[in-house]
Amino acid sequence: MKQIISNAILILVLARASWAQGPTQFHPGFNLFSKQQDVQLGQENAAQVRAHMKVIRNPVLNDYVNKVGRRLVAAREAQESGFPFTFEVVADPTINAFALPGGPMFINTGLLRAVDNEAQLAGVIGHEMSHVILRHGTNQASKSKLVELPAVLGSQVAGGSLVGQLTKLGIGLGANSVLLKFSRSAESQADLMGSHLMAESGYNPMEMARFFEKLNQQGGRRTIQFLSDHPSPENREKAIEEEVHRLPDQQYTYQTGDFQRMKALIAHVREPKPPAPAKAQ
């Protein structure tokens, strides 16, 4: 009997230890929106983005970001979210990318130009996808419009514009939009979940941290939207590194093989001045 009890304790201790060493688990926070409403909101907003920003229509660039994106979408946490992710390139020299609720993601030409390797691009895409998976945008909106939102979301008519309704509440897509302005803890979560997506896809998560560090050294926070209001690069790097140790050991060797071609093309694109004010972090 003593033997059984000690064995049971040992098993519990081991189980607890392996659980503690596993990747950090995240769950979407409080949210008044349904997942379907996330998707609707994102698609309506994406249509606005396409109307206001210059979208690249070139198969080489579009296929490239889609290859990297779909690789990350195949990872477990992205699959479980069920969100329909899409990836498009916009002509904007700012080093930035942003994802709308429910999955539409826009990657600036400036970001494609700035990354040193594919894993760094995957890092930014994975980070943004994690905001979508964890529903940070609508979580943020839910918290800020706790009182007004239930009536709006409850009375939502099929086929009606959700964006239109939310704009009346001041939840639009402009600069400082609550849908795209995340808290530091949300950013840290997105870093860690992004590193899960990267690792599962065969990209080295440390490249995400290296890219943040590189941006920090290069231009400072004022000129690089992706860094503004984010945790400091040193802290991010440390947190990502710790998370990588919790992940199963593996080689990070995946590459699409199209990175150099993308870089050659993007080096020759001359973007117009950014038409609209800052859209996201």
């Binding site: 920003m53 093309l265 993007i266 001359r270 038409p275």
Partner: protein, 134 residues
């Protein structure tokens, strides 16, 4: 064996009309309007300074693959003239020809050939939908 007599009869009839002085007004009215038309056709097909086969060879349809789509365009074309033809803003786009980037300064001297594969990075939308529509 039946046709010749018919032709003969027609020409005989018209010549008889002409010689009989029956309204020459119709052929005379026709003549001025048909002359420029003929000249136009002549100009297009051969031209007054006829270098016939060579001139025809220069203006021919050329198959190009632009951003993955097969397009048929009248040649000869340089990269610059292609971008103009496609209504794209040449100062902004990036061009890859048969997997190699062509620097902007070489566009005017880069002639395109049948079967060339081009990737042109251009933008649409952003309140300027007419720009570079492809």
């Amino acid at each position: 064996m039946i046709a010749p007599p018919l032709e003969n009869s027609v020409s005989a009839k018209s010549s008889s009309q002409g010689s009989a002085g029956v309204p020459p007004a119709i052929p005379e009215q026709d003549a001025p309007s048909s002359r420029p038309l003929l000249a136009l056709i002549w100009g297009f097909t051969a031209g007054p300074t006829c270098v016939c086969p060579a001139a025809l060879a220069n203006i021919k349809s050329m198959k190009l693959f632009i951003n993955g789509e097969e397009r048929s365009l009248e040649g000869p074309l340089t990269l610059t003239s292609l971008l103009t033809r496609l209504d794209m803003k040449a100062d902004r786009v990036a061009v890859e020809l048969n997997l190699g980037i062509v620097p902007r300064e070489q566009w005017t001297t880069t002639a395109l050939a049948e079967g060339d594969r081009l990737e042109i990075v251009h933008f649409v939308g952003g309140g300027n939908p007419g720009e570079g529509g492809l």
